[in-house]
Subunit: 562 residues, 2 copies
């Protein structure tokens, strides 16, 4: 007898990653160093929650006998499906606060079972929360649906985990929605193909999750979002299967794929998709440049974004971000630049890019860039592993692990990401840092840090990604931490949209970004989207409270009124 | 007193182009040569229709007094707004057949008047047909709405013709929806910017029309459709203005811009958009290559499409198409290849592209390619004007003028365009040519010609564009021509979708492509789209019969049951 129906490596229910993946001693030192920076002098890291800390109520409904095999109500499964991975999720787990666990977790083995579950849920007024890897950082997978429903089921797609079919000529593959990043890449590798979609959550997130949240990936330019790589999709909705046709392009009506991308589970469940793939890169050119002036650095990136060179990596870290990641002196900005190709050498591309870096005062190690073009291309596992860029990338992957104990000790650590046109960028950058800094001081009584990098860039503007750190409580008062976070979060939503940006570039809307989403979108459009939802989900059981669902009017932000 | 409220150069009501733009004597010879090829030995070209050939019924409603200035019911205005520019439109004009002229043509001067007209139309049950340049080739602007409406108004946006605002830093501009291609480029030129969207209809089509039909443009790769260049949009709907925010990118919900692109006037009227622009090119590299084997040529294009080189031009003409355009011997395929940049020289790009051409047996004039990179970049007016590529382009621009008298004399000349994944291409190409060839023989009793070129290419497949020519009647029996065309058209719709393609890559759905659109899309999706329409257009007055409107069930193809 096992305590889970999941067949995957056991993940922590209370935080990031695998149960087996403990912090290394060096990482414990890093975490303590980061804690000291926000004002927490902890001798010991806090003790994580255990399943026995939570008293789960009995499920309020019984699944139909024909589907019983797919359903689990074990404590471990219900706990792992109670929250996503946002700051609010982590802190509520540390607080042992769990008002809305799912009644059941369902693990359908195929598309028909998914459809049967939706049918049953519609008949029985049971809410359904589609769940991929559960890494939402905006309340997108939380089963907090309120009393209008008899019960709520978290629908975990992990068993839909195959690459079904590969079309080498068109460089595409038919892939099930529940597959995780590493397995997807492993199944494509024998064909010499790769999706090359590497969000920070790569190890713990799924293709279907990427699609419905418009996940941001590997490429700094051109294919920034997963949207660009969706050739066709199958989405099971309560009204039937919405399937689109495999096509390289079409002009026939509004693009149905683009209704699915960004739908965040409120319209249906993505069971499979044909995805556009890449040949594995054979050539690579990379380097990093330092700028004394952040505005000049941003202008250099603007020139790069408009050059038509289309670097695959073009990540600019502001001085605070570079310092925070341990790759800067707090005065210089760092630009990480890279090209890759399966087809051709990249000298001409990189040479011109470096001219644009020099034109704006950037300094770089020309010999290191030259070496990057001479050396054999390492496997993806090892890419970008050298120098400042490599150090930054290691920190990027491990940061979610480091955050958990800091949150448990009273730190507030969060990120928010946006996009803005170039003409508005300077004032936007200044305004966001000032207003969020002021909000931190108001909410916590102390200053915090706010830093920024560009994750993706477009000819018409960058996608700035902000990170902030603050002290919620140095006395372990996590209720204060959570209240302060909510106050800061609503300011973040407001300032990025009020100053012209979007409330999310690639983290989706979920519950937490709804205040900004309503600020930046037209109510006429949201009404049209609600009408489309009513057609696809006539009983309104799909992921209530997320994106546009009317229930959200009551919640607005994770758990605030839940 | 004038016979029109249009303020633009007078266009022909019965065919392509300006009234003042007569065929040159050399063109008359070309037309007679083309006629001879389909079996028409005409000594004289037929006499075009005149306005006095048509007896227009009186308008069935009166517009409100407050809006009267915007409305016209002159014969010229009603006739020019009765049809688009498809084969069926041309032949019906030559037949002097006009069952459904608009009651009125409205020329709103600003967005408020557009909104007022939609309000009035909703109250009075008057259908509204948005009209940009009127160059639809699929029945998209035809006011054939049936008896459910009291009357029908063609809503001509020509007065919304300004570039309102330019943002040089983000390379974008706010532009009104009714502006025509040449005026748009002229207003951008002083800023050193260009949209570089050059559909065949460029001279006579509008920004708003491009957006709602997902027009295909200049770039063979990457930004193939206008969709990619829409930064934000304002669409006046009967339910209010659907405005999207200026953003370089976002992940907030399903992309609202993508509901507008492809909406074909059934949801509302695009009054303005912020568009992503380009710097004017300073560097160019171009050339053409011949292939003895079309399959090898297609494979070469596949390699180019997957290379990441992203040529701006990559147009492959099959042997029949090259011969038809007067640039081939009927045995060889012709590839027209080009790169352009405002930022960098293109030697490395072209050198690698030519390797891929050589790898598949393509032959080219290396010295001519070299010269293309040395010479100063000509203005857009003169681009691609040299050699086979230039000849082809001249024919491309003038072809619509040549078609009109041929249609009047009894020829059937039409095109259809699609997209298909590479793995399916060979069988698709063979199947489409065979089945359409057979349909021509069945419908006309004689063989016709069917040829193909690629207008755009993607890493996962090409966008083949087919042209066919047949003899409808050598006795001037245009009813036979039209009946034969309808039979052939429905076969084209069926074969391209049945063999895995899309019914339209960039001509939109309108009325004529609905049979294919329903074959390739999911009814679940079309129902969702209808629900969104019901939210935006609650009285159902917007462009009835087009795309998904239920009225279309009765029509199916232009005028067939109208």
């Amino acid at each position: 007898m096992t305590d889970t129906k999941s067949m995957r490596p056991r993940r922590r229910f209370w935080g990031w990653g695998l149960e087996s993946d403990e912090l290394q001693p060096m990482e414990v030192a890093i975490v303590k160093g980061l804690m000291a920076r926000v004002g927490l002098a902890a001798a010991e890291l806090p003790t994580p929650p255990q399943a026995s800390d939570f008293a789960l109520p009995a499920p309020r409904v019984e699944p139909p006998a024909s589907l019983a095999d797919a359903f689990s109500s074990t404590a471990h499964d219900r706990l792992t499906h109670s929250y996503g991975k946002s700051f609010a999720d982590a802190v509520r787990m540390w607080k042992r606060e769990l008002p809305c666990p799912p009644d059941w977790v369902a693990f359908p083995a195929d598309e028909q079972v998914v459809a049967d579950i939706l049918d049953w849920a519609g008949r029985e007024n049971v809410a359904v929360v589609p769940y991929g890897g559960g890494t939402s950082v905006c309340g997108g997978v939380e089963p907090a649906v309120g009393g209008e429903y008899r019960a709520v089921v978290s629908l975990d797609l992990e068993r839909l985990d195959r690459v079904i079919e590969v079309d080498r000529a068109s460089r595409s593959a038919r892939i099930e929605g529940g597959i995780f990043g590493p397995e997807l890449e492993a199944q494509l590798r024998p064909h010499g193909l790769t999706l090359r979609h590497f969000p920070q959550s790569f190890q713990f997130s799924t293709l279907g999750g990427w699609i419905v949240t418009r996940s941001g990936g590997h490429y700094a330019t051109l294919g920034t979002h997963i949207d660009e790589f969706v050739q066709s999709v199958r989405m099971v909705t309560p009204a039937g299967v919405l399937a689109t046709r495999r096509l390289p392009g079409s002009g026939a009506g509004p693009d149905a794929n683009r209704l699915v991308t960004g739908s965040e589970g409120v319209l249906g469940v993505v069971t499979e998709a044909w995805m556009r793939l890449q040949d594995r890169p054979r050539f690579r050119a990379s380097g990093s440049a330092r700028f004394g002036d952040f505005v000049a650095a941003a202008n250099s990136v603007r020139a790069l974004s408009q050059s038509g060179l289309n670097p695959s990596n073009c990540r600019l870290l502001d001085p605070a971000e570079a310092a925070f990641a341990g790759v800067g002196d707090g005065k210089h900005s760092l630009l990480v630049l890279g090209f890759e190709s399966a087809d051709h050498e990249l000298q001409a591309w990189m040479a011109r890019a470096l001219e644009l870096v020099r034109d704006f005062g950037g300094e770089y190690d020309a010999a290191a860039v030259e070496r990057s073009m001479q050396s054999a291309v390492a496997d993806d596992e090892g890419e970008h592993r050298k120098g400042a860029a490599g150090q930054w990338r290691d920190a990027f992957i491990r940061m979610p692990y480091w955050r958990d104990p800091m949150v448990g000790a009273g730190a507030i650590l969060d990120t928010f990401e946006t996009a803005i046109t170039w003409d508005q960028f300077d004032g936007f950058y200044r305004g966001v840092r000032e207003e969020v800094g002021a909000a931190i001081r108001r909410a916590t009584g102390r200053p915090g840090s706010v830093s920024c990098r560009f994750t993706h860039v477009y000819p018409d503007g960058p996608a700035p990604y902000f990170t902030y750190a603050a002290l919620g409580s140095d006395k372990g008062d996590l209720a204060s931490s959570l209240a302060a976070w909510r106050e800061i979060k609503l300011v973040c939503n407001d300032v990025v949209t009020r100053l012209g940006g979007t409330v999310t570039h690639h983290h989706a809307v979920g519950r937490d970004h709804r205040s900004g989403y309503e600020q930046e979108t037209s109510s006429v459009y949201r009404d049209a989207l609600r009408a489309a939802k009513a057609s696809l989900d006539p009983h309104g059981v799909m992921n209530p409270g997320v994106l546009i669902d009317p229930l959200g009017r009551r919640v607005g932000i994770t758990g605030a009124l839940g």
